[in-house]
Amino acid sequence: MQATPWEPEGVEALLDSNGALVDPSAVSGIDLRSYYKKMVAARVLDHKLRRLELPMWASSAGEEAVSVAIGDSVAANDWVFVGNRDAAIGLIRGMPLTELARELLRSPSAPTRGRALPGSISSSAHKIMGACEALGASLGLAAGHAHGQALAGDGAGATLVVFGEGLTTTGMFHESISMAMAHDVPLVFVCKSQLWPDGAPPEAGLLGDSVADRARAAGMWTRRSDGADPLGVKRSIAAALHRAHDGAGPSLVEVVVTSITRDPPAERDPIERMRRLLDSRGEWTQTFQDVSEAEINGQLEKAFEQAQTDGGPA
């Protein structure tokens, strides 16, 4: 792997920056083309939302590996506590697109009646809990929820909470780790850490760049993955969920993500990196790309149009 300032340190890589698999056997069960289409769908959703110019909305382009891995890996009775850049989880988890659109448009006919936070989605039917306003509150709620799942006994699912590295300086982050460890709950923390090519600025107060190191110091099972490596992220999150289902306790997966809006080198884009893999295997063509994009684009256009006519922004 070429060493540029854009490459994160201490990550487990499965797909290198040229799109070559470090361990081909690790992806034997995955339909790579269909997984790639999910990544593309997540990106197209982000583009769609950008064009809508929703108030207080923030792009998650470049973070698709996290949303897709979560949506693709959770079991039917697992709950996901989301933040405000995780709409693609609803997409991958199979929320009807019109319902997803109503949530994002904050329409009165949405499941949350237009009360969700900007960019957030919530669906009881698809076991997605919307974002919280109080800093880090979703971490504490998720820890308690996982505890409740554990008390319910066999057959109950795990709980996963996804958040950004900014929340890891709050008291609630540390309190939640403490609660999760004390009660040994089936909880997966997924932290999206923004990559700073020159290291995080001191005012970010990140106590060292690695959130995973901090959680490990608390005795927690952790993995640090590269958000530009969709298959590595998928492997880490699936492993963490597997532990939770097995009663092995809480875990934290840190994914180092690179925002596409900051114009990083092409290999920092998880979709491009996976495209290179498919291309090298002869499984990618421009037509396949165009059809994949057009398919989801058409579905989203229709869903947002429908949502706008029956409710519109609240």
Binding site: A110, P111, T112, R113, G114, R115, A116, L117, S122, S123, S124, M129, G130, C132, E133, A134, L135, A137, L139, G140, L141, A142, A143, G144, H145, A146, H147, G148, Q149, L151, A152, T159, G171, M172, E175, S176, S178, M179, A182, H183
Partner: protein, 332 residues
């Protein structure tokens, strides 16, 4: 109360106890009986010392279908956890009615332990200002168990009808410290809920209406008794057991019936429920009022809410002060 806590856990296996030391009996001994029962111990969730973490954790348990009862060492713990409490309060609303948060927080409140500071603070003014949070305050010692049983019952959350606004948020039950320190030498029926709504008329009369709650309730009843015995003045005494949401229609009706109003409560005079009640009556009972609305609180300066341990006895209104106020409005 410890026996009642154990009984509540046995009756509904969705209930669990949460708190820093619930596995060793709890700060007030409230989980003492439950801690001795091997069957119940898995639902005693002893937890690390956190600020907002415990409150958020309880909310998460409720979202997963449990009915957590959180035993707090002090109502001020909820002030430390205010961000999480606010989140719990708005969660049923925010979810568009998809989720209930049936958590009960039980917390000693106000003066009574002689420690001062946070351990003497009356937290109700802040707690009742949090949207979506129900705040109850027990009054007389003999009602403590009835309050606890009724507060632990979340009616209306057992239906699956999430299309209506019948969702339930968290509830806080405040136990006045001055009441719980008294030895309780009465036989109580552990199965009995409060046989009335928390806000109710406890004593009837037609010359004036006294609104009181918490530590001020017993002095208010004693004052009403003294007025009846010494001057033949019979007054209504209303226990304000539910501080949020206020049953405004009922309160206005009770105020308008006599037009002479006394409001008695412990803690600071400014910016609290007493002020809110006075404003409510000025708004909606004005044509029935025959005297100024009198508020009787502690004897400390009006703006002083901070107490040393040795000042606690002055933080609640006395029966004499309340009786004087009754006499004043009646003869106004």
């Amino acid at each position: 109360m410890a026996r009642l806590v154990a009984a509540l856990l046995r009756e509904d296996d969705r209930r669990c106890l949460l708190g820093e030391d619930v596995r060793s009996g709890g700060m007030l001994g409230l989980s003492r009986v439950a801690a001795e029962d091997e069957q119940l111990r898995p639902r005693l969730l002893g937890s690390p010392l956190t600020g907002a973490g415990l409150v958020a954790h309880a909310g998460g348990l409720a979202l997963a279908g449990l009915r957590p009862i959180v035993l707090l060492p002090s109502a001020s713990a909820l002030l430390e956890a205010l961000p999480a409490l606010r989140e719990l309060g708005r969660l049923p609303w925010r979810s568009g009615g998809q989720h209930d948060v049936p958590v009960l927080f039980v917390a000693p409140n106000g003066p009574g332990f002689g420690v001062g500071g946070d351990q003497a603070e009356c937290a109700e003014a802040t707690l009742t200002a949090v949207p979506g949070v129900e705040v109850w305050c027990a009054g007389r010692a003999e009602d403590l168990c009835g309050y606890l049983r009724s507060a632990a019952e979340f009616l209306g959350t057992d239906t699956d009808d999430h299309d209506t606004e019948h969702t339930s948020g968290p509830r806080v039950l405040l136990l006045p410290r001055s009441v719980i320190v008294r030895d309780l030498m009465i036989d109580l029926d552990l199965d009995a809920s409060l046989p009335r709504a928390p806000t109710a008329v406890l004593r009837e009369g037609d010359r004036a209406t006294v609104f009181a709650w918490g530590a001020a309730l017993a002095p208010a009843l004693a004052a009403a008794d003294a007025c009846a015995r010494h001057s033949g003045i019979e007054v209504n005494v209303v226990e304000l057991g539910c501080l949020a949401p206020l049953d405004e229609a009922l309160l206005v009706e009770l105020a308008s019936a006599t037009g002479k109003l006394v409001i008695a409560h412990a803690g600071p005079r400014r910016g609290g429920i007493g002020a809110e009640l006075a404003a409510l009556f000025a708004d909606r009972s004005i044509l029935h009022l025959d005297a100024p609305i009198l508020r009787v609180t502690g004897e400390l300066p009006a703006n002083l809410a901070l107490l040393a341990g040795h000042e606690e006895h002055r933080a609640s209104p006395t029966a004499t002060a309340i009786a004087n106020a009754i006499t004043h409005v009646v003869h106004y």
